[in-house]
C-alpha cells in the first residue's frame, strides 16, 4: 500500500510541476512562492487574505502584457470542407429554360439508386453523405463532356477514402491524351542507349557486358477498348475536385496481382512493395478498379446482347461490344436470387497478360506490333506462344470458378417478410465489397470496400528470383578432383608403355626406309 501511495504522490507532484499553457507557470512553484511570502510577511488572518496574496504573487511575476491585437480565427478543416461542399448546392442558372429534347442527362437517377442500395444493405455513407456524393457527380458531369457517368463505388483507405466515378466520353469529345509520361520515357531510353553505345566504344572491355534483355512489355490498350474502356475519376470527399486516373498498363495489372497493400488516401503516395509496383497509388488504384470491374460487374441475363454485325470480319476475335436489349424481360426476383445463371458478366475478363485482347509479344521485331495481334498474316511458327483466351463476354456467373470450396457469389433477397417487393442482392466472395442488385428492369453494380481480393488462404509474398549464374559452366572451369598417387602412377606407366611402343615403330620404319633406300 505504501508503494502505491508513494507512486500516487510522485504522480501528483509531477502533475503539479507541469507548466500551464497560458501563463508558463506551474502550480508547485506558485504554491512554494506563496507559502514563502506568507512565511516572510506573516499577515494576520492569513487564511482570509490568501486569495489576494496568491493573485499578488502571480502579478509580480508576470510582465505587463497588453495587446490590442486579436487572434485570427483559423478556419478548421471542417470549415474549409463545408465551404467546398456549399458549392455543390449552387444551381447553374445560366441555362435558364432547358430544351426537353436535349441529350438525356448522363446522370443516373440518384435517389432511386440510394433507395435500392439501402434495401440491399450497402451504404457509402449516411443519407446526407449520399446526397452530397450525387451532387458531386452532377458537378463532374457538368464540367466534363461525358456521355455516360455512373457511381462506381467507394474504396476505403487508411487516412482517407476514395469515391470513384466511372465515365465514358462522348464520341469525338475526348481530349487527345498528351502522353507526357511516355514521351520523356522514350527520350530517356534513347539517351540511355546512346550512352551505352558510347561507353562500349570507349573500350569498356574491363567489365563484361550484360547480355540480359528484359522481356518486351505488353503495350497498354487504347482508350476506349478493353481494360481502358472507361475513364475513372476519384475524389476524397464529395465537393472536392475530381481527379482523373491515368489509363492502366498491363505491367501495372500484373504487379497489382502480386501485392497486397492498403490504400492511404493520397494519390501520390508511393507503393513500397515487392515486386516493385510501377507507379504511385493512383496507378495502383486504377489497376485494382480494373480488376474489380472485370471480375464483378454483372447484369441480369438478357439485359445486354451482342451487336449483330452484318459482316463477320474476324470470327476469331472476341466480341467486345454489346448494346442494350430492347426486348429485355426481367426474370422474377426470387429466380434472380436463386440461380447464378441469370446473371452475366458484361465486362471483359483480363487475361494473364494484363490485357483483354491478347498481343503476340514473340513477333519478329521487324514487324510492328499491332494491338489486335494480326496473327493470321504472320507465318505460324511452332515457337509462337499460344494466344491467351479468356471466357467470352456475357458468360453467366454459374461458370465462375470456385475459390477453394466457397462459391464465388452469395445471393439473397433483401427481405423475407415482403418477398414481392424485395430486391435480389448479389455479393461477391472473391472481391469483398462488390455488390449487385436487381429489381425488375433496374439493376446496378456498386463497390464499397478496401480494394483487396480475398483468394481464400493467406497472402504469400513473392520470393526474390534465384541469383543468376555469373558465367556459363564448362569443362575448363569445372572443378575436378585431383588424381591420387596410384592413378598418376598407372597413367605414367601407360604413357611409358606407349612411348616404348612408338619408339619401336619408328625404329622399324627407319629400318624399312633404309631397306627401301638400299633397294633404290
Amino acid at each position: 500500500m505504501d508503494n502505491q501511495k508513494q507512486e500516487a504522490a510522485a504522480a501528483f507532484k509531477a502533475f503539479m510541476l507541469k507548466t500551464s499553457t497560458k501563463s508558463n507557470l506551474n502550480l508547485y512553484d506558485h504554491l512554494a512562492r506563496l507559502l514563502t511570502k506568507v512565511m516572510d510577511e506573516r499577515p494576520p488572518n492569513a487564511v482570509d487574505v490568501i486569495e489576494d496574496l496568491s493573485f499578488r504573487v502571480k502579478r509580480e511575476l508576470l510582465p505587463d502584457f497588453q495587446s490590442t491585437l486579436r487572434d485570427l480565427s483559423l478556419s478548421t478543416a471542417a470549415q474549409l470542407l463545408a465551404e467546398q461542399q456549399g458549392l455543390l448546392f449552387s444551381r447553374v442558372d445560366e441555362r435558364g429554360e432547358q430544351d426537353e429534347e436535349l441529350i438525356e442527362s448522363p446522370l443516373p437517377n440518384v435517389n432511386e439508386i440510394s433507395f435500392f442500395l439501402e434495401q440491399a444493405g450497402v451504404a457509402l455513407g449516411g443519407r446526407e453523405e449520399m446526397q452530397r456524393i450525387f451532387l458531386a457527380l452532377k458537378q463532374l458531369v457538368d464540367s466534363q463532356p461525358l456521355q455516360r457517368c455512373r457511381l462506381w463505388g467507394k474504396v476505403m483507405g487508411t487516412e482517407s477514402n476514395y469515391i470513384v466515378a466511372e465515365a465514358e466520353y462522348r464520341e469525338g469529345d475526348e481530349e487527345e491524351e498528351q502522353s507526357p509520361e511516355e514521351a520523356p520515357e522514350n527520350e530517356e531510353r534513347d539517351a540511355d542507349v546512346d550512352d551505352e553505345k558510347e561507353g562500349a566504344e570507349e573500350g569498356n572491355a574491363l567489365l563484361p557486358q550484360s547480355t540480359y534483355k528484359p522481356p518486351p512489355a505488353a503495350p497498354k490498350e487504347a482508350n476506349g477498348t478493353g481494360v481502358n474502356k472507361y475513364v475513372y475519376y476519384v475524389c476524397t470527399e464529395p465537393g472536392l475536385p475530381w481527379v482523373k486516373l491515368p489509363p492502366v498498363t498491363p505491367a501495372q495489372i500484373n504487379a497489382a496481382r502480386h501485392i497486397r497493400k492498403f490504400f492511404t488516401g493520397r494519390l501520390d503516395a508511393p507503393i513500397c512493395s515487392y515486386p516493385p509496383f510501377p507507379g504511385h497509388e493512383a496507378n495502383y488504384l486504377r489497376a485494382q478498379i480494373a480488376r474489380i470491374s472485370a471480375g464483378t460487374q454483372v447484369s441480369p441475363q438478357g439485359f445486354y446482347q451482342f451487336r449483330e454485325e452484318e459482316e463477320e470480319e474476324e470470327p476469331d476475335a472476341p466480341r467486345n461490344s454489346y448494346e442494350q436489349n430492347p426486348d429485355f424481360e426481367a426474370a422474377p426476383i426470387p429466380k434472380m436470387a436463386e440461380s447464378m445463371s441469370n446473371w452475366v458478366h458484361h465486362v471483359q475478363h483480363i487475361l494473364k497478360q494484363g490485357r483483354c485482347t491478347w498481343v503476340n509479344l514473340a513477333a519478329k521485331p521487324e514487324e510492328e506490333l499491332d494491338e489486335d495481334g494480326e496473327a493470321e498474316e504472320k507465318e505460324e511458327e511452332p515457337d509462337e506462344p499460344d494466344p491467351e483466351v479468356g471466357p467470352p463476354l456475357l458468360t453467366p456467373l454459374s461458370e465462375d470458378k470456385e475459390i477453394r470450396d466457397t462459391p464465388p457469389w452469395s445471393a439473397k433477397m433483401s427481405s423475407t417478410l415482403n418477398p414481392q417487393y424485395a430486391v435480389a442482392v448479389l455479393r461477391s466472395n472473391l472481391w469483398p465489397g462488390a455488390h449487385a442488385y436487381a429489381c425488375g428492369k433496374r439493376f446496378e453494380n456498386i463497390y464499397a470496400g478496401w480494394g483487396l481480393k480475398c483468394a481464400g488462404g493467406f497472402y504469400m509474398p513473392s520470393l526474390p528470383p534465384a541469383p543468376q549464374s555469373e558465367y556459363p559452366s564448362g569443362p575448363e572451369i569445372t572443378e575436378a578432383l585431383d588424381p591420387s598417387l596410384e592413378e598418376e602412377q598407372t597413367l605414367k606407366a601407360t604413357l611409358e608403355l606407349q612411348q616404348a611402343a612408338q619408339e619401336e615403330l619408328e625404329s622399324l620404319q627407319g629400318d624399312e626406309d633404309e631397306d627401301e633406300d638400299e633397294d633404290d
Binding site: A8, A10, A78, E129, M156, S414, L417, N429
Partner: protein, 275 residues
C-alpha cells in the same frame, strides 16, 4: 452500439460500406427491447453482423452491472429470434483456432474438422481424435476475440468506482475536436493487459478513475487503426485493420459513441504486409 441509439448511429458508421435496411432496423429496435426485458440486462447493444456464405448472423450483446465481466452474446438470422451463444474460454479458443478455417457458412450446426498432420512412422494415427468444432462455437469464439481485441471507447466515457466496478460516466461530455484526432484518447474496452509501463511524466496526466484501460496508441503493429473524420468532418470514425469491419464512431463534443462490426469474422493476419 446501444439499442436506444440505433436510429441515428447506424447512419454514422455506414461509411464502412454496410448498412441495415429499414425492415431490419425496425425489427432490431423491437426485439432488442424484448431481449433486455427477458434476460434482465442492464444495457443491450447491437454488436454487429457476421457475413456468412449462405446466411448472415446478427449479433447482439447484453451487459450486466459490471461492464467488463458481465456480458453475453446472442445471435439471430432475422433480427427477431435470438439464440444465446456459449461463453468462450481459453480451451474453446484453442480448439476453434485449430479447426475452423475459411469463411463462415451461415449454418450454426456446420462442423469444421481439424485433421492433425500425420508424421511418418506414426503408427497410432487412427487413435488420434479429430477435433470437431461447430459453427456456433466458432461464432462464440470469434465474437469474443473481436470484443477483446478491438472494441473501443473514448477516454472518459467509463469510470471505475473505488470498489472496482466499471460503469458509464454520466459526466462525460465528449472529446474535443483536437482530442478526437489523437489515438491515445481512445481505449480498449476490455480487461487491461498492462503491457507498457508508463513514465512518471506521462502518469501526471492520467486520472486513475478513467485511465484504467489500455489506450489504442500502444497497439502493435502501429498503424493498425485508421482514424478519420467523416460525414463532413462531423464524426470521428476509427476502423480496425486487424479485424477488418470493426468501425467505431464518436461525435466530438457530445457523449455519442459506439462500435459495430460488419464483416466476415476473419482476422487479418496479412496486416504487416499490407501497411
Amino acid at each position: 452500439m446501444d439499442s436506444n441509439t440505433l436510429y441515428y448511429s447506424l447512419d454514422l458508421v455506414s461509411g464502412s460500406g454496410h448498412a441495415l435496411n429499414g425492415e431490419q432496423r425496425a425489427a432490431l429496435q423491437t426485439s432488442l427491447v424484448l431481449l433486455k426485458k427477458n434476460y434482465k440486462f442492464n444495457r443491450v447493444m447491437f454488436w454487429g453482423k457476421i457475413l456468412g456464405i449462405k446466411e448472415d448472423y446478427f449479433i447482439a450483446q447484453g451487459k450486466g452491472h459490471d461492464e467488463l465481466k458481465d456480458k453475453q452474446f446472442l445471435y439471430s438470422f432475422n433480427c427477431m429470434e435470438w439464440h444465446l451463444l456459449p461463453p468462450a474460454d481459453n480451451a474453446m479458443v484453442g480448439e476453434v483456432s485449430r479447426a475452423a478455417k475459411g469463411r463462415f457458412m451461415g449454418d450454426p450446426s456446420h462442423e469444421y474438422t481439424d485433421y492433425p498432420l500425420k508424421r511418418e512412422g506414426d503408427e497410432a494415427t487412427e487413435a488420434v481424435e479429430l477435433i470437431k468444432v461447430t459453427e456456433e462455437r466458432r461464432l462464440a469464439v470469434t465474437v469474443h476475440l473481436i470484443d477483446e481485441e478491438v472494441s473501443v471507447v473514448p477516454r472518459g466515457a467509463f469510470n471505475r468506482t473505488h470498489l472496482g466496478l466499471m460503469n458509464t460516466n454520466r459526466c462525460f461530455e465528449g472529446l474535443s475536436h483536437a482530442e478526437a484526432g489523437k489515438l491515445d484518447n481512445f481505449l480498449h474496452f476490455a480487461k487491461p493487459k498492462k503491457t507498457k509501463k508508463k513514465l512518471i511524466q506521462e502518469q501526471a496526466d492520467l486520472n486513475p478513475s478513467i485511465d484504467f484501460l489500455d489506450p489504442l496508441s500502444d497497439d502493435v503493429p502501429k498503424g493498425q487503426w485508421s482514424l478519420q473524420l467523416e460525414n463532413a468532418s462531423s464524426v470521428c470514425v476509427l476502423r480496425s485493420l486487424l479485424w477488418m469491419g470493426l468501425t467505431f464512431y464518436h461525435v466530438p463534443m457530445t457523449p455519442q459513441h459506439g462500435y459495430v462490426y460488419f464483416g466476415y469474422g476473419c482476422k487479418n493476419l496479412d496486416l504487416p504486409f499490407m501497411l
